[in-house]
Every structure is written in structure tokens, then in C-alpha cells.
Subunit: 393 residues, 2 copies
């Protein structure tokens, strides 16, 4: 049967990360620094039992029924309050609940991108965002980064050269995959440029709350007086990903369009999950819970950084993330991380090769490590194995 | 700020039903036959408490973590078994869990439709499906119906006149909005025509399990030997809609494409909700639960049909649904149901005017009534009110 699919399906391909997960599952005993999964031992499972029972006792029928497309208002109020902590003053009515921030990425592509439109992003950028956008057939323009995130002069060049660009996509805090954070000064400049060129910013912020040291920077949206920054958040990294609760926060005009997209896409987010997050925040101390996560992740970051220093050859550099889940490793020019991965898997250790994070390809000499999901023992042993592989090259 | 959105946003509009809900909320005391919501008093709330506690005791960390894009295997096994009851032999691996069947509709548009492509549908058809497809800018070709569903000769004409059509969308059982069911003979013919013209069928079946009398017909997919029928199901009407658990079942080649779309769109369905449905089915009798719903809905259907017979003027006809949630009312030619709704709201009763169910407009002289969500008292009083409005015209 010769079935005709839409043209976009040429660009919709398996995720590199999911493919690696399959390889890892085929080799039991592999220590994986590949995924972007949070540590499950930090999920508040006991509390969740009380939360579930409480919700159903109070209002079980409502909790299992359809609800509004926009989402459960007490949850949106809770989110608005938390966003205040990163300097964003937002009305709960201007928040739409989505299925994780991944859905906010998909909706952003749907809202803005006609075939061939330019999307500006960091180089490298989150592979899942690139996949989501790709379904709408954009052309990606990459902006190089340094230790302080996107280089603003390069961004301005990209904007000047692509006057029809649809949006600038950025992960300003502990970026995926590099772990880098956009500096305060650059946040201001980013918004100024967005306004100057009339190009919206999609600020994707899954990791901002997971800062190990130093002071939290105000969100890019904090500097937005024109309603040009669209903020995507999620509870996947501060609570748990299985409930799929994320959000979009934007000016009223724009959020209304996201709501219409949500209505057609799947009507609404899960009613019960929305109430679970809100009820947990009501019954327990969400901030204390997040601090608990930070403490564990900070120790694991420290341990992995120590081990890398000891075990990796000197010609290999890497980022020192002050929060989030990832560090980004640079191999010498000309080396191919995908080839290194093959050898690493033979030694029982895995990571994500960097090429998939570059929308236009190339840059094969990088890889991403996740330090959050593994126990101390696995970090020590895994980095030793990886060091042996790297020294052997 | 002059932000440039994608062209598709011209077609993404507020749902007529959600707009009516807003009007209803503004007038307290209105009896609403408008929504498509199931009756919440039939949700198994007490059982859900035990289900939640059980899941977390057994495997709380896994239940809150990411899972595979395809979905939780025991749930897919349960669904495959239930599909067997409507004559569909499907491998659980060829099932993808979605956020309600609405997401399956959105993904179907994404998978098949380039701008300007033809989508063939029943006339009238489910307004939410039309919204989902519209975001991909199709051209709709409508196939007239009679009491036995789509008229097959008209379908063949549509296929012959539109050789590039991308799919045929049908709700064969207790159709939304008409309550009509596609006859057995026509199901066979539909699949034959699909194969002959090489055009896939999207079989959307949210209501098939809710049959009040007579024997269940085999699904359209039952007759599919070529992998040309894509089946969409949901637990929203047999369990509860708040958990947003639906599915797509299709041949391996096609389901793989849906999985890729799911990955980019929101990674995966809610882990906990998937386990809740599977655990409920393990701990309790899902069939008995569905029978309980059927008993209540059948009585409400009977009552509304009786009341309509007594209270509506003789020049108004309507369908007699053997299952599902809706009956469809025909006003005399030239009348406008939207105008009738204004008068009805003044009398404290609401329905959905029919025009939104016709993708190319027109046909203003119809409306849809939901008999499932209202108590006996409300059905009696609401139809009396509506009868007065109709007699007064």
C-alpha cells in the first residue's frame, strides 16, 4: 500500500538520545550519563500518596473530569508566584498548562513557523527543541556561544541577515547541552535586540531553579516590557517528569493563541496531575523539596568534575556548570564523538555525542554528560572507564 | 509590537462549544445539553484512591519517571485485549498511547496533511476533529449521511473526484454529532474503497463501547487486511476524561510515524495515568464498570427521547441513537439554530448549534443534544423549556 504522508515527515526522525537508550538497554551493566532524566530517588513518593487521597476525598469528580484548556487556576497561581522569584511579574491568567515544556516547544513551532522560515538558536541547542521545530520545516540559523552563553554580537548579525526570522530560541540557565548560563548583561541586550528587530524570544527554562551556587539571575522575561518574550517552564526537573506538567507564560495576546493551539492539539492538560502539583505545594514545602534536589545534584556535579579532572587526558576541555544536569565535553578538533561512543559502550559507559545538538550538523567533536541520575559509585566507575577510552585514542 | 505568526493561525479559531460553555456559565441555572462531557457521578473515585496508593507502594519511582514514548506496555496489552472484543486483532506494540483521542486527531493531521490537501469526512462531523485538522490547512470534502452513516456511493464519488485525498475521517459508532452508526455492509465497502483508491481511513471510536441495545458491530478496522485503517480510541468516555488517556492503533509502519510525532510533540503520555488505568483494570472489573455507565445513559436516552416526543413540535425530527452521548435535531429548512439558541438561553436551556459541525459551513438548521450528563429532573425540565421555545417560533 503506497500511502502518501505529509512533506514534513521527511524531517521527523528518531531522536538520537532515544536511539542511544536502546543501545544501552541492549548492554546490561552499562553506566549511562546519556539521558536527561532526573534522579528518581528524589521523587516525593510517600507524599504523593497523601496528595492523591486528599484530592479525591475533597473533589474526586472534578479531579477526573474535563477542565478548562488554560488549566487549573490554583496551579497557575502557584506557578505565577514561583516565577516572581526569578523576577517575572505574570498574571496567572497569562499562563497555559502544557504537557511538559516539550509541548510548549511544539506549540511554538506551530504558532510561528511557515515552511522555510528562519528560527535562530544557540549553537549547540536542545535536541528535543530542534525536533519539535523541525516538524514545521524551518531553516535554522545558529548563534555561537562562549562561557557566558549566546554571543550577542553574533546574534545581532543573525538578526540583521535574517529580517524575517520568526523567533530566537534560548535556554538561558544551565543550558542543555552545554551547562552554560547567559550573563546578566547579555539578557538585557537579548531583549533589546528582540525589540529592535521585532523578533520574539522563546525562553526555555527547565533548570533555572536548580542552581548550586551563586545568585539566581533574573529570567530573560524579567527585562521584557513589550510582551516579546515567551517563557516555557516545567515541573519535570523540580518535581517529577511522569506527570507531564509544564507551562507557557506570555502576554495575553500571545497566550490566547497558544490556548487555541492546545484546544485543537489535545483539549487540555491532565486534570488530576495539575491538581497533584498544586496540592503538593499546598500540603508540603515545595522550596524545601527543591533544595533537597539541589543538594544531591551539587554533590554529584562536584564528584563528576573531580573525577574528570583526574581521569580525562589534558587535551580535553569541558564546562563547569553552576546548576542543571549537564556538562559538555570538547574533544580535540577532528575527533568524532560518535566513534568514541562505540568504544565507550564496549567499556560499559555511555554519553550523548554532540552532533545532534547542532541543527545544521557538523561539530562532531563534542559530547554531553548527565551527572544527576547516577549514584556516586557509578560516577566514579563510569568516569574511570571513560577516561581509559579517551586516553586510548 | 508587530509579531508575525504562521499562516495556519488564520484557521485556528476558538471552538464553538467552548464559547457556548462561557455563555452558559454567565447564566446560572441554565440546563445544558451542550457539552460532550461524561457524567462525573459515574467516575470510580473511591477505587481510584486504592489504585493510586497501590501504584506508588509497588513502584512509585517508576510511576513518576519518564517512560517510553510508545507508552506503558501493560496498558497497551489491556487495550489490545479490549480491541479484540470489537473484532480487531492488534499487537500491543502497534498501539501508541496519546493524550485522549484528540491528540490522535492532531497527529493524524500532522502525519498526512500538506496545505491544500483534501480530507474526506462525514457531513456533519466532530467539530474537535475539524479544528485539529484545520491547523494543517486541508480542504474538506464532505460526504452526506443517512440513518446508516456515510452514504457509500457519495464517498466513492468524493474519492473519484479527489484522487490526492489524504484520508477519510469517520466516527462509525454513535457518531458525534448525529448519534448515527455506520451499517455493517457499509463498513466492508468503506475498507474496499479505501484500498481501491489507496486512501487511509481514520476510524475515531470514542463511543463504540457505550451501546444500549443490539449487538456491537465489528470495528471498521476489523475488515482491514492491508493496514489502511488507523484506529483512535480513548478511555475518556468509559473511565474518565481528566486522565487524558487515548490511543492510536495502526500497522507497524504507520504507528512508527505516530511515535516519532509523539516524541517531538510532548515526549510521552503521563506515566502515572497510564498506570492508573492499567491498575484499575487489574484490581477491578472494567467491563462491569462500563455496564454501569451504559445502564445510566440508556435510561437518560430513553427519558430524553420520551420528553422530546411529548414536548417538541411535530415538524421537528431527530435521530434515535442506540448508544453514545448525542441526538441530532433537524429544524425546518431555513431556520437558524444559532438564533434558536439565543431564545433557549433566555429560557435557561442550552445546546450546540449544528453549523460548526459542517467544515464548509451552511446547514444552520440543526442542533446537538447531550442526554448523558444531566439528571432526570434536568432532562424533563430542560426539554420542556426547549419545547416551549420551539413551539414559539
Amino acid at each position: 500500500m503506497n500511502i502518501r504522508f505529509a512533506d514534513r515527515m521527511e524531517e521527523v526522525k528518531p531522536s538520537a538520545i532515544r536511539e542511544i537508550s536502546r543501545l544501552i538497554q541492549q548492554t546490561p551493566g552499562t553506566i549511562s550519563f546519556a539521558g536527561g532524566w532526573p534522579a528518581p530517588e528524589l521523587f516525593p513518593t510517600e507524599e504523593m500518596k497523601a496528595v492523591c487521597v486528599n484530592i479525591i476525598d475533597e473533589d474526586g469528580r472534578e479531579a477526573l473530569q474535563y477542565t478548562s484548556t488554560e488549566g487549573y487556576l490554583p496551579l497557575r497561581e502557584f506557578i505565577a508566584k514561583r516565577m516572581g522569584a526569578s523576577g517575572v511579574d505574570i498574571d496567572p491568567k497569562d499562563i497555559l498548562i502544557t504537557n511538559g515544556s516539550q509541548q510548549g516547544l511544539d506549540f511554538s513551532g506551530k504558532l510561528f513557523v511557515n515552511e522555510g522560515d528562519v528560527v535562530i538558536c544557540e549553537s549547540p541547542s536542545y535536541v528535543g527543541a530542534l525536533s519539535a521545530f523541525r516538524a514545521y520545516l524551518p531553516r535554522f540559523v545558529e548563534v555561537p556561544m562562549d562561557e557566558d552563553g549566546m554571543i550577542i554580537e553574533e546574534l545581532e548579525k543573525a538578526l540583521a541577515q535574517n529580517p524575517g526570522a520568526k523567533f530566537i530560541y534560548t535556554i538561558p540557565d544551565f543550558q542543555n547541552p552545554t551547562g552554560r548560563t547567559l550573563s546578566l548583561e547579555r539578557r538585557k541586550r537579548l531583549v533589546e535586540l528582540a525589540v529592535k528587530y521585532g523578533v520574539p524570544v522563546i525562553e526555555d527554562n527547565p533548570y533555572g531553579e536548580l542552581r548550586f551556587e551563586g545568585e539566581r539571575l533574573p529570567a530573560v522575561k524579567h527585562f521584557d516590557t513589550e510582551g516579546i518574550v515567551i517563557y516555557l517552564g516545567t515541573t519535570s526537573k523540580t518535581f517529577c517528569p511522569g506527570l507531564r506538567v509544564g507551562w507557557v507564560a506570555a502576554s495575553s495576546d500571545i497566550i490566547r493563541k497558544y490556548v487555541l493551539i492546545k484546544q485543537g492539539a489535545d483539549l487540555q492538560a491532565n486534570t488530576l496531575s495539575q491538581r497533584q502539583i498544586a496540592k503538593f505545594a499546598e500540603m508540603y514545602d515545595y522550596d524545601a523539596h527543591v533544595r533537597g534536589i539541589i543538594d544531591v545534584y551539587r554533590k554529584r556535579r562536584d564528584l563528576m568534575m573531580d573525577m574528570i579532572r583526574k581521569e580525562f587526558p589534558l587535551n580535553i576541555s569541558y564546562t563547569y556548570p553552576k546548576g542543571g544536569l549537564f556538562t559538555w565535553v570538547d574533544l580535540p578538533e577532528g575527533m568524532d564523538a560518535a566513534e568514541v561512543l562505540k568504544k565507550a559502550l564496549e567499556q560499559g559507559v555511555a554519553f550523548v555525542p554532540g552532533e545532534a545538538f547542532y541543527p545544521n550538523g557538523g561539530n562532531a567533536n563534542h559530547f554531553r554528560l548527565n551527572y544527576c541520575t547516577s549514584s556516586d559509585e557509578k560516577i566514579v566507575e563510569g568516569i574511570k572507564r571513560l577516561g581509559r577510552v579517551l586516553k586510548g585514542l
